[in-house]
Subunit: 396 residues, 2 copies
Amino acid sequence: MAIPYARRINGVRPSAIRELLRLGDDPELISFGGGYPDPALFPMNELSEIFHELLTTATAGTLQYTESRGLPELRKLIAERLTRGGTVCGADDVLIVQGGQQGLDLTAKLLLDAGDVVITENPTFLGALIAFAPYEPRYAPVRIDDDGMDVDHLEEILARNPGAKLLYTVPDFQNPTGVTLSLQRRRRLIELANRHQLVILEDTPYRDLRYEGSHLPTLKSLDTEGRVVHVGSFSKILAPGVRLGWAVAAPEVLEKLGLLKLAADTQSSTLNMSAAAAYLGRYDIDRHIADGNVVYRHKRDLALATLDDVLPPSVRFTRPNGGLFTWLSFPEGFDAAKFMQETLLPAKIAYVPGATFFPVHQEPNHARLSYSGIPDDRLLHGLRQLGELVRRQLES
Amino acid sequence: MAIPYARRINGVRPSAIRELLRLGDDPELISFGGGYPDPALFPMNELSEIFHELLTTATAGTLQYTESRGLPELRKLIAERLTRGGTVCGADDVLIVQGGQQGLDLTAKLLLDAGDVVITENPTFLGALIAFAPYEPRYAPVRIDDDGMDVDHLEEILARNPGAKLLYTVPDFQNPTGVTLSLQRRRRLIELANRHQLVILEDTPYRDLRYEGSHLPTLKSLDTEGRVVHVGSFSKILAPGVRLGWAVAAPEVLEKLGLLKLAADTQSSTLNMSAAAAYLGRYDIDRHIADGNVVYRHKRDLALATLDDVLPPSVRFTRPNGGLFTWLSFPEGFDAAKFMQETLLPAKIAYVPGATFFPVHQEPNHARLSYSGIPDDRLLHGLRQLGELVRRQLES
């Protein structure tokens, strides 16, 4: 039987990340693959208490349908927190989504016709490429360095792609590289978006995981024409398993995103939204995040110091000020996917080979390495082994 | 600022249901609108106990990321239950989705190119039209009577639409009419689908809410060529607020639906999936459903008897054997939307005007009436008032 799939399915393929999520169940594997937060940081006691209250003393309404845009109380608390952080907005400017990923899916669904040009960092978040694929875009990737997207290169790219519609960026502690867009470049990015009629999709899952320095303004807070769709997530600051995030956009855009949310899955979980609202209302999430950042900073320091120690100088890696990732660049000619398949996996070690993060020209000599979700001893052991195996490979 | 929306957004518009969900917050309103289950039936104690255990004695894994296809244990338990009900399948034939609505969205995303023909009952579930709209289909609606979709009319429709790709049906206690597809017609539907290379999207949110008679086989269980995508939901048998449903399809189809699920929102809530699995593993959900059906049968009987009593004979309505809805048909020339706006809402009563349930020619003289989520006294009071107001309107 031949199923008559839609044309859009041609571009929809299994991803390396998905296979890794499956591998993740092997308890022996030391995986630097998934961008998992450290489960030891989940506020289990607080959430346990909140869920208990919601399901005993509260009304059955927490298990009923609710507003498609999301619980008003949760939207209000998110808006207040964003406003405190400089991104001024109100409850009605916020749409609750099913993790940041749904914010990417809905924004692409809103904007992209087949063949439309999407500008991304090069490399960019694999999950965004996965979200965008069904809408059949073409990509115009922009160089990235330690200060994030190279805006001079962006200007060239825009000149060559006058019809480009959407620019996707992870300005803070980018996935996969860990780098952060500088303030000067943020301002320039907004100017260029205004001049070229671009919509900016600002994806901020790691924004709060800053281990040093001060927060830079969000692109949304610098937005002068309502061109920025700002997407955030509770996955890294509360827990991924509740599947909650938010989108903030100009009223007309948010209204349409809300219609697409309704079409896609009616609403997010009333229970989980109620719990997140109770958590935000009752506890100081920024204190919770600060406590977690002490742990992550330590893990980052441990990871970078170990990599300094074990990797040969021909292997470079980024030194992020926050987030969950460092990006390894092996010498040209090194095939990071083949190396993982043939050498790392048999030794029960995994990272994400970097090729899939490139939208167009897939450079084979990189890997994304996450240090966030692994206990110290395994982190140390795994990286030492990794270093040893890389050295051997490069010397052979 | 002009945002360059995708073409698909032209067909995406606010719906009557959405406005009603907002109205639902007015405590004075007696709403026969939403297809809400009775919150008094939610197993609060059991879920409270389960969530408490998951967040205290269990590992933090219940708040972490998990497999995109859904928790293996939950998929297994759903497959076992479907198999007991005659729809034989295994855990790997099941994809967990974010409520049945996501099953509709992903199936449409998988199959529909702009302009493709979707066959539906006439009228059909508004949420399906909302899910399908962004994929820009054309509709070929098929007559429906007390035995469900009229398969003779379907045959005519297929002859006139040789390229039709997808047939969407709610075979059990259809939304909005409450009618059920007969066994003979189910067999004929499968034959016609085989002959005309149709994919059938079988949507079964009300299937278990049967108040009399025996269950009929699912279309999936009669499927001889892997043409049926079967979608089910916990919303009406456990609680809508957990946002969990399932899709069952042929392996190749399910694999692709899983890729689209990953693209759309990574996964459903690990916590909620864990809770649903614990509930299914520990309690007899079919006993729970049977208990609830006693309540719903009573509400249906009360609603139908009251309508018999208060409505003039020129207003007809369906007599469903299960589910949440009856479908009112007023005399020709009656405008059910105008009547609601001008007469019912000022009296604090709401239903869903029927026009929006018709994919093509919107008949104005119908309304969907849900009796499920309302306490008896308000049900009785509301229907009596409704009857009185309808009588006055028709006599004037």
